[in-house]
Assembly symmetry: C2
Homo-oligomer: 193 residues x 2
DNA sequence: AATCAAGTTGAACGTCAATTCAACATATTC
DNA sequence: GAATATGTTGAATTGACGTTCAACTTGATT
């Protein structure tokens, strides 16, 4: 049996450079489109933004759901890192307030994130996995604040994301948005503090 | 010139009885479908439920938006009546709490209502008109409670519908839902009461 | 430069849902 | 029981979108 080396004129095993570039362009375009249009953003639109044909999206990501999965994963990673950075803060209430304001900030920037984090049915697998990873981190921060008597004893991690679903996201609604956040923050405080 | 009466063998000017019946059936089917499926409910499904062909829906309502408009109008009428019944209640805080709980109840029953009342873009004309009619009624109740020092001085009518956008609506989430409402109610109370 | 695996293309296809309309049916009037 | 305005039907049209794939390019290797 002859070895491959003798007759094979080449061995390109790694990814081609143009493919890498396209992968990056598509991810960037997808992030932007999903952020502005939500999860229903059209594949054709993403392809146009990225400067490639639709087929290339499917070559790289398999399906729309596959692409959305990766975009969502990246976003949840940011959230995860953010939550980790709060875990050892000195002021437990401040940490909880940062959770609320941090999640609010994400939603303002990203309609897909807003939709995905709240959707109870139709959840794609990655999102529900990501939520399962995030909720405990939020719950840990809540637990600390509850132990200090600063937060309602019945508050759960999932309540926060539900409460932020209605957050006004328009640029022109900054005022109402701040009022909204103050109401939520007052609502989750413990009665005696 | 001869009068029409002499040669016209008939003069059916009013609506036919079967048409009336179909109109009613379609409205009933549409209400049910929009309530369970939201505004994206399919016209074919409504037609099937009503026991007529799609064409009949268009004969009566012109378009899907036309049909949805009428359904929404009916729902907003219920809300309007409900708000009117609260205007002269003795306890201003109780009235505000009823607004919150009443709107919550509607959302649990009706996905279309939930979607339409919160959508900031893509608003069909009827919905935004209906909201313009409802907000003052809510604001009046808020004003009374604020005058009595029972509600945050900065609360506005539009804040309440925004706050209820995230309300969990599943049958299995009654517990979280009640927690959610308690948080909202605490959040809108004035600090010194 | 020659080679070819890897990558790209975009027209074509399938599905789904809104809408139209020409042929058909019937409630109502006389 | 006609006559006909009114109403109904549902197949066909249209448009939007996700997905596929056979033909075509191109980057990397020798």
């Amino acid at each position: 049996m002859m070895t491959d080396d003798l007759k094979s004129p080449k061995k390109p095993s790694a990814q081609r450079s143009d493919a890498q570039q396209n992968h990056g362009r598509i991810m960037a375009a997808a992030k932007a489109r999903f952020a502005s249009d939500g999860p229903s953003a059209a594949m054709d639109a993403i392809a146009r933004d990225a400067g490639v044909a639709v087929g290339t999206l499917y070559h790289h990501f398999g399906s729309k759901e596959g692409l959305l999965n990766l975009v969502i994963q990246e976003h949840f990673q940011v959230v995860t890192d953010f939550l980790a950075s709060l875990q050892d803060s000195a002021d437990p209430w401040w940490a909880v307030e940062q959770v609320v304001r941090g999640m609010a900030k994400r939603q303002i920037k990203d309609r897909a994130f807003k939709t995905m984090i709240h959707q109870h049915s139709n959840l794609i697998e990655t999102t529900s996995q990501a939520k399962r990873g995030i909720d405990p981190a939020i719950q840990a921060l809540i637990d600390r604040a509850q132990a200090a008597g600063l937060v309602r004893p019945d508050l759960r991690a999932g309540d926060l994301s539900a409460l932020l679903a209605g957050l006004p996201i328009g640029d022109d609604q900054a005022e109402q948005r701040e009022r909204y956040l103050l109401i939520v923050l007052q609502g989750i405080k413990s009665e005696n503090a």
